[in-house]
């Protein structure tokens, strides 16, 4: 079966997805670094997590590959790699947990500070 596994395509269509990942990462970083609203920063974190998950799924893709379940794949002998999908599932769960925790922290911060502006939440400095 090893001979049927082809490398990730190197043509434009194959790489466009990676460009999209890079774009998403930069967009997320832009929002984290420049936005003043805590909620928008959280959105940035969530976008960053999703782009990384997208990247992981993309890594496992093989052109024309079927689902990586042996008895469901049918006649197709090329399968996408299963490991990155497992990684993605784990990463999604982690991202979910952190986003939930982060938003709950934002709620509590708003309760105490009365603001969501990141410039005003700076009692700890120096």
């Amino acid at each position: 079966m090893t001979d049927t596994i082809v490398d990730t395509p190197s043509d434009f269509a194959g790489n466009a997805a990676y460009v999209l990942v890079a774009f998403l990462v930069i967009m997320a970083l832009y929002s984290i670094l420049t936005q003043k609203n805590l909620i928008k920063i959280c959105i940035g974190i969530a976008v960053l997590g999703s782009s990384v998950n997208f990247f992981l799924v993309l890594l496992g893709y093989r052109q024309g590959g079927g689902i990586p379940v042996y008895y469901l794949a049918g006649a197709k002998k090329t399968m996408v790699l299963p490991t990155p999908q497992c990684l993605t599932l784990t990463a999604i769960v982690i991202a979910l947990a952190t986003t939930a925790l982060m938003l709950s922290l934002v709620i509590l911060i708003h309760k105490h500070y009365g603001t969501l502006n990141v410039d005003e939440i700076r009692r700890l400095r120096g």
Binding site: A91, I94, L101, M102, L105, I121
Partner: protein, 523 residues
Amino acid sequence: MNWHDHLPAFLVMIPLLGAFLTPFAASFGKTARNAFFMLFMALTLVVGMLLCTATFDGGVLVYVMGGENFSLTLPSGMSYPVRILFEIDAFGSLLIFCISFAAFAGALFSIQYMDRFSGWKRFMSLYFLMTTGALGMSATGDLFNFFVFVEISSIASFGLVAFWRDKPESLEASFKYMLISQVAAMLLLIAIGSLYGKYNALNMGALSSMLRSGTLERVSLALILSVLAFKCGAFPMHTWMPDAYAEAPSGVTCLLVTVSQASFYGLIRVCYTIFPAVTQGGTVGWILIALGCMSMFFGVMMAVVQHEIKRLMGYHSISQVGYMLLAMGVGLLALSDGNSNGTVAAYGLTAMKGGLFHVVNYSFYKGLLFLCAGALYYATGTRDLDKMGGLARSMPWTAGMFAVAAAAISGLPPFNGFVSKWMIYESSFAVHPLLPAVAMITSVLTLASFAKVFQAAFLGPSKAKLVAVREVPYGMLAGMAILTVMTLLLTLFPGWFMDNFFENAARALLDRQGYIRAVLGGM
């Protein structure tokens, strides 16, 4: 089939089980809850110690998760391992030693420290999870699994830093830590994913055997390096550290210190074992040295002018991590100078041994310092040094243990901190005379700021507001005493610890082929 073979699994299983059994145990009342907490922490400690002794002879323990056989690393003719496996060598067990001790002492301290507060169930669960994460980080042999453990310990620590959620500062500290930590974690995942995309392997040993130098590898190394340097608090990325260390409950800070040590383990493991093809040029060694020097100097400069006791200690953590980064950078430089067959120049080996010695010293005396700060907070209700004074009369035990820890961190002979710092000075002098100069200035300023803390908190006339202050309860003193005893043992028997721990750990770190062979068999 011997139960001894399953120790690596028990190491992570016991605290993880503890985390999920906590709500049940807590429903049987306070005594049962505390007994359960201490029992599981003690079991973790015992397993950690057994693992340490198992790797004393330089062996590497490998444990395959989810396989039909725990020792079968390469099932059905595969050439590279596919399952998650734990791989513990002498270097990993050194960290396990530190983490399990600090976790036990912090737990013992927390029982009475946190007694006045509600939310004990959540506190215990998160504490167990953080221990799991830290132990897993130093035991795992799989990069993605490493990421998962990093996240387990991070998420638990976000929760614990913000544990006093009625205090705005702790929420703020937790949020800042979490924000940078999440960006860092995602970059780490990108790096791990890229390596997987190129080599189709996540196992550290397998990656190490395949890895060649290239653009992708360089980018991945840079990402992993900076993320883990952030996690252990290297200079330009250290800003979360004083916030989080100061605002977390003290028992938790004691454990947070070792969690950052586990990140340091990951950093060193990645640089020495997985990426020698890239670190060969010496650039990475110099990056570590530069990060170390900056952390040492700026960390201590900020610490000297603080007057909030835990924040001051948080800045000291940065400068202490700087020593280890410096030592390991010197070791990496010596390794890239030396021959490719694993031999290393004498100064490199001394630097590595000194650095590893400092890791252990730092875990114990820094944990002790944070516990002492917690005891002061417990007794006086303030963390501001301006409001303390003359406490040595009412809190003699705390004062004594604080003095031991402060002398050790300032590198006063004959304490253990001096020995490890001295080894770092000696070996970094071989690279450039400026490096030990920076380290010594740091040491002097450390002494200066701890002299200030001791003077302000324990000496001087008693203050009218503090006449009612009494010594903290015995449970808290016991937690501090464990770490004091460990510090004194390291002081009195440095030769024994060197022969059995640090020498082995440094050799294990250099023996890359042995690490690979344990997974891939005879290659």
